[in-house]
Amino acid sequence: MTILIPEEYPKKLIDKNGKRLDGRALDELRPFSCKIGVLANADGSAYVEHGKNKIYAGVYGPREVHPRHLARPDRGIIRVDYRMTTFSVHERKSPAPNRREREISKIIEDALAPTLFLELYPNSAIEVYVQVIAADGGTRCASTTAASLALADAGLPLKSLVAAVAAGKADGEIILDLGDLEDKAGTADVPAAVRMIDEEFTLLQFDGEMTPEEFEKSIKLIKKGAREIFAKQTAAIKEKFDTVRKETEEENKKIEKLVPPEEKITHASGTKEEEKAGEEKSDKAEEIKEEKEDPSDTKEEEKKPKKEKEEKKSEENK
């Protein structure tokens, strides 16, 4: 038989020096790190560590929708499945999906949808699986951050990345990025997701008590925190490709020493032929997009003759 022990919360969440339980300042984030391309079998994936949260996200699709009646003939749908592992929390979580998991799946869907071009995928679904390995407060925010990275890694066109973080109130102070205890013992919790291109909110929940002024202040804090997270997301993506680039540069130097320049095979990175082959493929998708984004006919007309000119030029160059 399980013995229920009521959880005890510390009386003070903020000490005399204005530091929090884990020694953070009021507007300081927990340590954050992320990585993309971590799952070999997924089309796109990401791993996020936010404080003690450890979260994997995998993206599949666009692919067929099952059950079929959920498919929309005019646009694609995004489906998120947020799950916590049984060992992710202090007391074993039942593996059966519960109300909370369904809620979080739904809000992550809504937080990501405004960054996708869903009209490009009629009758199909983009599926995101979020698995929480370890939870420590603010998993819905960290999961949204991870899911957004995984979508980008899958090579899906996106308007922007999404960064999510919570603000809240504890001991009468407005604080950023609540930990587990602050979430449970504090007076208010405002998780939010920010679309970074225009800093619009794609998720905003509220739980607790706050004055309108305090709410305004937490919104400001959230934006500040989101910018910090976004900077780390950006760095993680760029780092992945830059490390390969650095390695290859070293290799290039090594080869240059060995092979005299005359014997080298003529090459060019990203030549015209290569890109033309690639261009053909994505043209259709682009056309559809351009029509929707830029309906003015004059621009379309301008483009065509210019493209032809460019091609002629390139032929002359050869």
Binding site: D242, T248, K313
Partner: protein
């Protein structure tokens, strides 16, 4: 515009501002947002005249008419095959697209009805067979239709098939096919790179096949870097020495 080719191209992320200059036009992989042009992919930024493009680094295959693809038979009914072509929808292959009906009909003696011929043709491929096929038609509503009538199309009996990232295919082919020629010459393998990101490799021995696949994996990983052809040339020759291959 050739001067851009040797430049190291910047890696951009979705939503990154490519330029705020109004004289530029967003090409593929970029859209206009107010005064700014932003990227919609993780990819390489590239300026060509007035156009700003982003070459994506990953992505799924979208079938187009005329594409040569490698597929796997995943379902058989009495009138058609379903072929997994590594795209969102499975391809459809009908018996009349699998054999040249007019060719067969003129063969010896009694004329066969097209129905008889189609029933006969349904025996051609079995579940799990790998095919090289051509995409005949594609639209947003129905599944892509394939054909295996044509030169070098049909069932694959030998060799190895591997999957690669679709946006990296141009790199594996190289400028005027330089990279694929290099791979073929140095590893003595036969290669077929399908547009849907599957590559068929057939070498004299499995050793050569393995070497060729490793080289392809290296190209895939380093697709966004410069000096790739030289590096692959060096890589294959070194590996050959190491393994004692000719």
């Amino acid at each position: 515009m050739t001067e851009n080719n040797h430049e190291i191209r910047e890696i951009v992320i979705p939503g990154e501002i490519l330029t705020e200059d109004k004289s530029f036009i967003p090409g593929r992989g970029a859209i206009r947002q107010g005064d700014r042009i932003i990227s919609i992919y993780i990819g390489l930024k590239e300026v060509r005249g007035k156009y700003i493009n982003v070459v994506p680094l990953r992505g799924k295959y979208r079938p187009e008419i005329g594409d040569k693809v490698i597929g796997k038979i995943v379902d058989i009914t009495s009138v058609k095959w379903r072929v997994d072509i590594n795209a969102k929808d499975t391809g459809i292959l009908k018996p009349r697209d699998a054999i040249d009906v007019y060719d067969k009909r003129s063969q010896r003696g009694r004329k066969k009805s097209s129905r008889e011929l189609e029933a006969e043709a349904m025996k051609m491929y079995e579940l799990g067979d790998m095919l090289i096929a051509n995409v005949v038609s594609v639209d947003r509503v129905s599944d892509p239709v394939l054909t295996t009538v044509g030169e070098s199309l049909g069932k694959i009996d030998e060799g190895t098939i591997i999957g690669i990232d679709v946006p990296k295919i141009p790199r594996i082919i190289g400028k005027k096919g330089s990279m694929i020629k290099l791979l073929k010459d140095l590893t003595t393998c036969r290669l077929f790179i399908a547009k849907n990101g599957l590559v068929w490799v057939k070498g004299a021995t499995s050793e050569y096949e393995k070497l060729c696949i490793e080289a392809i994996r290296k190209i895939e990983r380093e697709a966004h870097t410069t000096g790739l052809t030289d590096r692959i040339n060096y890589y294959i020759q070194e590996k050959k020495k190491e393994r004692g291959l000719k």
